[in-house]
Amino acid sequence: MENLNITETKSTPKVELNSITNKHYFIGESYPENTKDFYAPIMIWLKEYLSELPSDIEAEFNFEIIYFNSSSSKALMDIFYLIDDYVADEEKSLSINWLYIEENEAAEEYGEEFAEDMECVPFNLVIKEEDE
């Protein structure tokens, strides 16, 4: 299937979903004017991708969202739950990395809360070097 690439804007993150490398990235800030419109094609892509993904292929989802509004947090949780379900029901080899810089305490707390909600998928909190 085709990769999904969305360019970063002031209010939406860069999204790189890659069915060849199986490494996926969400990087930037998320406060779109219409959150549903922004995340709907992403959810469609992910559902198709995950249903086709063989169980023995490892896939990694990286989130480096510096700032997000509350409706984006719901959209992000929808993605996390979707991934979690595929690990729970079909035992796929998926993992989620939540990246943040050490000074961003809020991002760390949000990551901790999201991690609590995940039942099966490994949800890793990863401190990122600031000058990377």
């Binding site: 509350s70 719901k74 949780m77």
Partner: protein, 385 residues
Amino acid sequence: MKKSNKIAILSEHQEEIVEIAEIIKSITSHSYQIYDFNRVDECIEFCKNRRVDLLLAHTSSLDIILQQRESLPDKNLEFILFSSSSKEVESGQNIFNIGALDLFRYPFNRDEIEFKLNRYINEYKNMVKDYNRTQKQLDRVTRISDRQQSELKDLNNELDRYKHHLEDKVEEGLLEIKALNREIEDTQKEVIFTMGAIGESRSKETGNHVKRVAEYSYLLAVKYGLSEKEAEMLKQASPMHDIGKVAIPDRILNKPARFTEDEFILMQRHTEFGFEMLKHSTRELLKTASIVAYEHHEKWNGRGYPRGLKGDEIHIYGRITAIADVFDALGSDRVYKKGWEDERIFTLFREERGEHFDPKLVDLFFENLEDILAIRDRFVDDGTE
């Protein structure tokens, strides 16, 4: 290992419980844990304390179940009714309207029970999962929103503080600028006044002479119709009308006897010297001063010096300073003469109307004589200046 689904079975008849339990236990696709009760109160009590996924109850317990369901932790506890005989089905009562998921009729069909239980359990579990997730999402979203709101509030407060700080600073800066401006203006006035005073002191004029000339000039300028700004400018510039006298040697300037013709010609040149000293400035005030210095000895009839200008050719500043200067000079005592009586001065002014002086200014002088004399009284020479 998957969690087993908890099913409570309620019937007064133990044999019914056994029959249904046997069927449920034989289901292999899902794991079910069975709790059986003969008494409705025991069953309700159990449901209050334990999580139960589904309740299977005999139709005879329907009323009490409906009553008690509200008091359970899970108010939406799903239940399926069963009847022990085909006769027992309530006549005309639609079980779906009262909230039951289904009705298992006697004799029980194993396949039907298996199919329906599995389906309900799956649906129920998904519903619970969705519900829990939605609750969590709501909870998270609310907390994130709260947090962001409080951050926003903090930022707004900080912004307010900055704004006030900035306003204070601007206010402070403005006050400082105002103070500095006043300082500059005051210094300028003082410098000009002092320059004028140098000219006067060298010719032994009294210090108040320049002050009076300044005030007379201001008054006449306003009455003549010049703007307040111009009148003020003239007031500040007029003390410099004799600044050119610094270029005249003392022996001539303070000569007690009559000037020789050469001396007189040199003496007259103080107007040109003053003009030369001041003309290079681009400052409005010094330009005004240069005009006053140059033209205050010109006469309306063209017989003045240095250029012999006539009538309107003489700048209004020059014409005004001329009348102000002469009035004050005539009335003041000098080393070599006593001051003139007022009447003598007024007679002279009337004679010189249209000759030495601008006729309009002479008229204004007399019209405002009271104010002019008040100025003279205010800056009277008392010997201390």
